[in-house]
Symmetry: C2
Subunit: 144 residues, 2 copies
DNA sequence: TAATTATGGTTGACAAAGTCAACTAATTTA
DNA sequence: TAAATTAGTTGACTTTGTCAACCATAATTA
């Protein structure tokens, strides 16, 4: 792989770092921080999940996560039930309130994306998505 | 733009957030922090640049940048010269030491990318890059 | 099976990253 | 030329993230 290729990949990384930063910035107006939103996402989609699994999925420090979860508990957003098989493990789930909050956030985030993509026509959107999927396909070979 | 499209875009964003996180993590082993490296990048490529411009390019708080630059100055990595036209402006450039440090970092970063991409064959690399460029093309219409 | 080691999670103490507002000095604008 | 703006610095602060010690439970092994 030559230097030129590397440069192009790094250029894309810088470019996309900004894109993500732009999108994330908007979340800052919500009641939740970025890592909080990510944690909520994982809980919401797993329905029931251990703290350990979340740290693995998000590559997040367990002490940090513990505090995030504590704050969720105080706000009544999650419920913990202990695992029958392993008493060390606590299974976390969103409460009804938590799920509602998450869905609200999620919808706002969807709208933000849709708003931004307004500037593209259908063909461009289709192409964009297929390029994204192609990248995921190629790169998913690597992380294995 | 329908919900399905939005989902796919957001999935890619999550995916690529992890990719970038993985690549960035490696920089943490260097003498510099992530924002420091980004600032060095801008100074290196502009050769001479004002703090203002850096804040715009990186969307960075000016007070934060000011401290980063201070730390660079203490380490002898940059030199400031005042602008002849506007005495409020200080033009920042990397010192010889600073440029050398940056190049070292940059090379290490290049190697990291090259290492990772080892797992792909030439065709995959070419496709990856062309997908990346296509995305940049499409999305650059938006940020305008 | 008793002692040791490993694991999930919490806590305290801290470091890094980022923000906000007030300020100085220079520059523009009215 | 007085008022408003701008580039950059500083102080005080919050948020984000890390590290190590610790507790309780579980798994391993002697």
């Amino acid at each position: 792989m030559d230097k030129h290729d590397v440069d192009k990949i790094r250029a894309f990384n810088r470019f996309y770092t900004k894109v993500i930063g732009l999108l994330d910035k908007f979340l800052l107006d919500s009641k939740f921080t970025l890592p909080e939103v990510r944690v909520m996402y994982e809980i919401y989609h797993a329905k029931k999940i251990s703290a350990k699994t979340i740290t693995e999925l998000l590559d997040m420090d367990k002490s940090y996560l513990s505090r995030v979860l504590l704050s969720f508990e105080k706000k009544g957003l999650i419920a913990k039930t202990s695992d029958h098989v392993d008493a060390r493990v606590q299974l976390i789930a969103l409460s009804a309130t938590g799920a509602k909050e998450y869905e609200k956030l999620n919808k706002a985030s969807d709208n933000q994306i849709a708003d931004i993509m307004e500037n593209l026509n259908d063909q461009e959107v289709n192409k964009l998505i297929s390029h994204m999927q192609a990248i995921q396909n190629i790169l998913s070979k690597i992380s294995k």
